[in-house]
Subunit: 266 residues, 2 copies
C-alpha cells in the first residue's frame, strides 16, 4: 500500500483530517509535569492518549526536540513508540541536502525513528528529495507555499508567468510515480491553496498555519480537500496542546480537537 493510500484509509477510518503538531516546549507544559522523570515524554503520552481516536496524524517538529539535546531526541524516539500504528506520523524537519546526505536523513527518520513521512525542502532539487521517496510506503510532504511571512520573499517570485511555488508543485506531480508525495501549503494562502488543489487533485496537502498564524479552518477544508473530502491534513499545534496550562491539559486538548472536528464536519 502506498503512503497516500494509507493516509486516505486512515482519514476514512478515523473520520478526521486533523493532525496534531507535537511542538513541545518545556517552558510551556504544565508545571506539575516538571517533576516527572521525562516531562516531555509524559506530556506527549497524555496528549496522545487523550486524542488518538480523533486524529489522522501526529507531527513532531524536530527542532523542539533537537533543542533539548540528547534528552530531547530520546523523548522523540519514545514518543513515536506511543503513537498507534493506525495513525500517520510526520517528522517535520524540512531537511534537504545532496543525495548521499539526504540518504542519511531518510534512514534516520524512517528506519531509526520510525516516521511514516517527513517534510522536505525542495530548494536543492530532485537528488535531494529522491532518497526520501524510494520506499512507497513512506511519504514526503514537499514545501510548496509555506504559512510564514517569508513565503513571499522567494516562493512567490514569478518564473515566466507562474509563481515559483507552482514549479515545485509541478515537479512534485512529476516525481510522484509511487503515489507517496504530498505538499505543504499554508492555511494563510486560501486562494493559492485552491489553485494548487486543482493542479494536484489526488495528492495529500499538509496545511499548517491555522490558529496563532492566522490561517482559516473553513477555507482550508473547502479548498484543501480532494473531491471525496479527504487528503487535506490540517495541522494544529499550540492551540490544541496548550489549550490549558493546568493539570487538565490533556482533557482540554481533547475538547479543543472535538470542537474543531465539529466545525470541520459542519
Amino acid at each position: 500500500m502506498t503512503f497516500t493510500q494509507r493516509l486516505l484509509e486512515i482519514q476514512t477510518k478515523q473520520n478526521s483530517l486533523i493532525c496534531i503538531g507535537l511542538d513541545v516546549d518545556k517552558d510551556k507544559i504544565p508545571k506539575h509535569l516538571l517533576s516527572a522523570s521525562d516531562p516531555i515524554l509524559e506530556f506527549n503520552r497524555r496528549i496522545i492518549e487523550a486524542t488518538n481516536d480523533l486524529v489522522c496524524a501526529y507531527k513532531p517538529n524536530l527542532a523542539f526536540y533537537e533543542a533539548m539535546g540528547e534528552v530531547g531526541m530520546y523523548a522523540l524516539r519514545e514518543t513515536l513508540k506511543l503513537i498507534p500504528k493506525t495513525i500517520i506520523t510526520i517528522g517535520d524537519g524540512k531537511r534537504g541536502d545532496i543525495g548521499n546526505t539526504a540518504e542519511r536523513y531518510a534512514t534516520s527518520l524512517y528506519n531509526d525513528y520510525g516516521f511514516d513521512s517527513v517534510t522536505v525542502n525542495p530548494y536543492m532539487g530532485y537528488d535531494s528529495v529522491e532518497p526520501f521517496l524510494r520506499n512507497k510506503e513512506k511519504g514526503v510532504f514537499l514545501l510548496a507555499l509555506t504559512s510564514n511571512p517569508g513565503s513571499k520573499d522567494f516562493q512567490r517570485l514569478k518564473v515566466g508567468t507562474k509563481p515559483f511555488y507552482e514549479k515545485v508543485v509541478l515537479s512534485a506531480k512529476k516525481w510522484n510515480t509511487q503515489n507517496n508525495i504530498g505538499l505543504v501549503v499554508g492555511a494563510t494562502h486560501p486562494k493559492e491553496l485552491q489553485h494548487i488543489r486543482k493542479i494536484v487533485p489526488d495528492m495529500p496537502i499538509l496545511i499548517p498555519g491555522i490558529g496563532k498564524q492566522g490561517g482559516d479552518l473553513k477555507s482550508s477544508i473547502l479548498y484543501g480537500c480532494s473531491k471525496n473530502g479527504k487528503l487535506a491534513v490540517i495541522n494544529v499545534s499550540r492551540s490544541i496542546i496548550y489549550a490549558s496550562p493546568e493539570k487538565d491539559f490533556a482533557e482540554a486538548a481533547r475538547k479543543a480537537v472535538l470542537k474543531m472536528l465539529e466545525e470541520i464536519r459542519s
Copy 2:
C-alpha cells in the same frame, strides 16, 4: 568583532582557506578504531589534532551524526569541544523553518553545541533566516547555488532575466547589515561563482563540491576569493578524512591537506 571579520582574521593567521568537512561514517573509518569507546569521536580527535594548524574551519555535517542517534549527537557535541577556538566551526544542517522554530534551531546550534556558524536554506524567506543572524558574532552561510545535480531543478530557473539563485544572493546582500552572512556556492559552477563574487565582493563564500563531486580547486580559488585572496572557504570532506583506511589515516589526512595547500598557494 563580526563573524566575517573573525573569519578573515583566522584565514590570515592560519594562512589557509581550507575547511575540513567532518562527514564521519562508521562504515568508512579505519577498522581498528571500532574498539574505541567512542569510535567517531576518536576519529575526529585524531583528524583535528593532525590538521588544526592547516585549516580555517571544520564543518560537521549534522546528518551523519543524527543518523547515529543520541550517540552521534553526543559525539558531535564532544567533537566541537576538541576544535580550538582559533578555528571557525560550521554546523552544516541546512535548516530553514518559520521564525519560532528557526529560533530553536539557532539556540541549539549556536548556544548548546557552540557552533560559530551554520548553513541555512533560504526557501522560507527572511523570517526563517533572521533568528540565525541576531548575534553578529555568529554567521550564516545561505544556500545559493549548490554543488549537486538537482541545483538545476529550481535554483537556475529564470526570474525575469535573472536566475533564481541570484535573487537569493541579492537578498543575502540586503540582509547583511551586521556583516555575518555568507553564501554556499558549489565548486561545480565556476562561471556562476565568478559572477556571484562580483555581486558580493566582501562576503564569505563556502565552496563545497571539490573532489568526489567533480569541482575544480583552481577555479574555486581564482573565482571564489575576494580581492585580497580571502573569504573563500574551500570545503573538502571525503578526500581528506578518508585519505587512508589504515592506522595512518590522520597522517594521511595531514598530507592530503598539505598537498592541497601547496596547490592553492601556487
